[in-house]
């Protein structure tokens, strides 16, 4: 059993690490909200999606701990993304050719 002082240090470290990630996520949320009101044409739409991509990368790597996961877990995780990319690429190869 560990002493109370030691577990207090662990709790502080847990909160410090995760609060930092949380603060970054909220900052990105505010940034995407503000960017949506700036008229930049297609870049306005893109900024929202790009910021969502950064936010989800933070969640996947740090909250879901994929950054320290074993290769098998990483392959399982990335497979969903690979097939979504294939689905978007094949669909838009058709849709964009019709416009």
């Amino acid at each position: 059993m560990s002493r109370p002082g030691e577990s207090g240090g662990i709790v502080r470290r847990l909160w410090a690490r995760n609060l930092l990630i949380w603060a970054a996520l909220l900052a990105l949320l505010v940034l995407s909200l503000l960017a949506a009101y700036v008229p930049m044409g297609r870049m306005t739409t893109a900024s929202g999606i790009i910021i969502a991509g950064v936010k989800s990368t933070l969640v996947v790597l740090l909250f879901m701990e994929l950054a320290s996961a074993k290769p098998l877990i990483r392959i399982a995780a990335i497979s969903g993304l690979v097939f979504v990319i294939a689905m978007f690429a094949l669909t838009f190869a058709d849709v964009l050719a019709r416009i």
Binding site: M1, I10, L14, V38, I51, K55, M64, G80, F83
Partner: protein
């Protein structure tokens, strides 16, 4: 280790393998969920490419405050869920922290559902349900709101399942039916919760941000 023998399940002979298999299994499931929501978002994107103006008009009609506050609520629930999962893996016994964070996570999830309920009420009052008497004249706007109701509804179902899983976990840990330390159920539940959060992270710019700059 008495904790490990209490958590070991058939068909595994070894706790380490059980954890790895559970984690692998949930990631495969999450990959399939990514495809499920990916297909819905693809449909949205195709419709938006074909009706950019209607989607801007429709997006402007959503309530950005409900959407932004709910995003912050869900991001905060991911924080408490991550702390619960990480605290369960620490060498020091942090059972109370795990319990407190699980309870906070479930309550934040419930808060999201309540806020969404207020938003749905406002949407219905503004006649933003596709069909006869729909408030906006552009045909593409009905496609936007078709997506809106379908995808936020499916997301709310996912979140409700998450709230039930987290609440159950809280209950069995509180009654000491299972140990908190190294419990793989906490890790697996946390991974599911984070995916539900990620889906919302992408829905936020798709639903609430179109048409704000014009």
């Amino acid at each position: 280790m008495s904790d490990e023998s209490a958590l070991l399940r058939e068909p595994w002979s070894n706790f380490g393998r059980q954890r790895e298999a559970g984690k692998f299994g949930i990631w495969v499931f999450l990959a399939s969920e990514t495809l499920f929501f990916g297909a819905l978002m693809l449909t949205y994107t195709v419709c938006r490419v074909e009706h950019p103006e209607a989607f801007a008009v429709a997006g402007r009609e959503t309530n950005i405050w409900y959407g932004t506050i709910n995003t912050a609520v869900l991001l905060t629930s991911s924080l408490t869920m991550a702390i619960a999962a990480q605290a369960a893996e620490e060498s020091a016994p942090l059972r109370r922290l795990v319990l407190a964070c699980l309870m906070l996570t479930a309550m934040l999830g419930l808060a999201f559902i309540v806020i969404k309920g207020f938003e749905y009420k406002e949407d219905i009052d503004k006649q933003l349900v596709p069909g006869a008497g729909f408030a906006l004249s552009q045909p593409g706007a009905q496609l936007f709101y078709g997506f809106y109701w379908l995808v936020t509804g499916v997301h709310a179902i996912h979140l409700s399942i998450g709230i039930a899983l987290v609440s159950r976990l809280f209950w069995v840990l509180l009654r000491r039916q299972l140990p908190a330390k190294d419990n793989p159920e906490i890790e697996v539940t946390a991974l599911y919760w984070h995916l539900v959060d990620i889906v919302w992270i992408f829905l936020y710019p798709l639903i609430y941000l179109p048409g704000r700059a014009s």
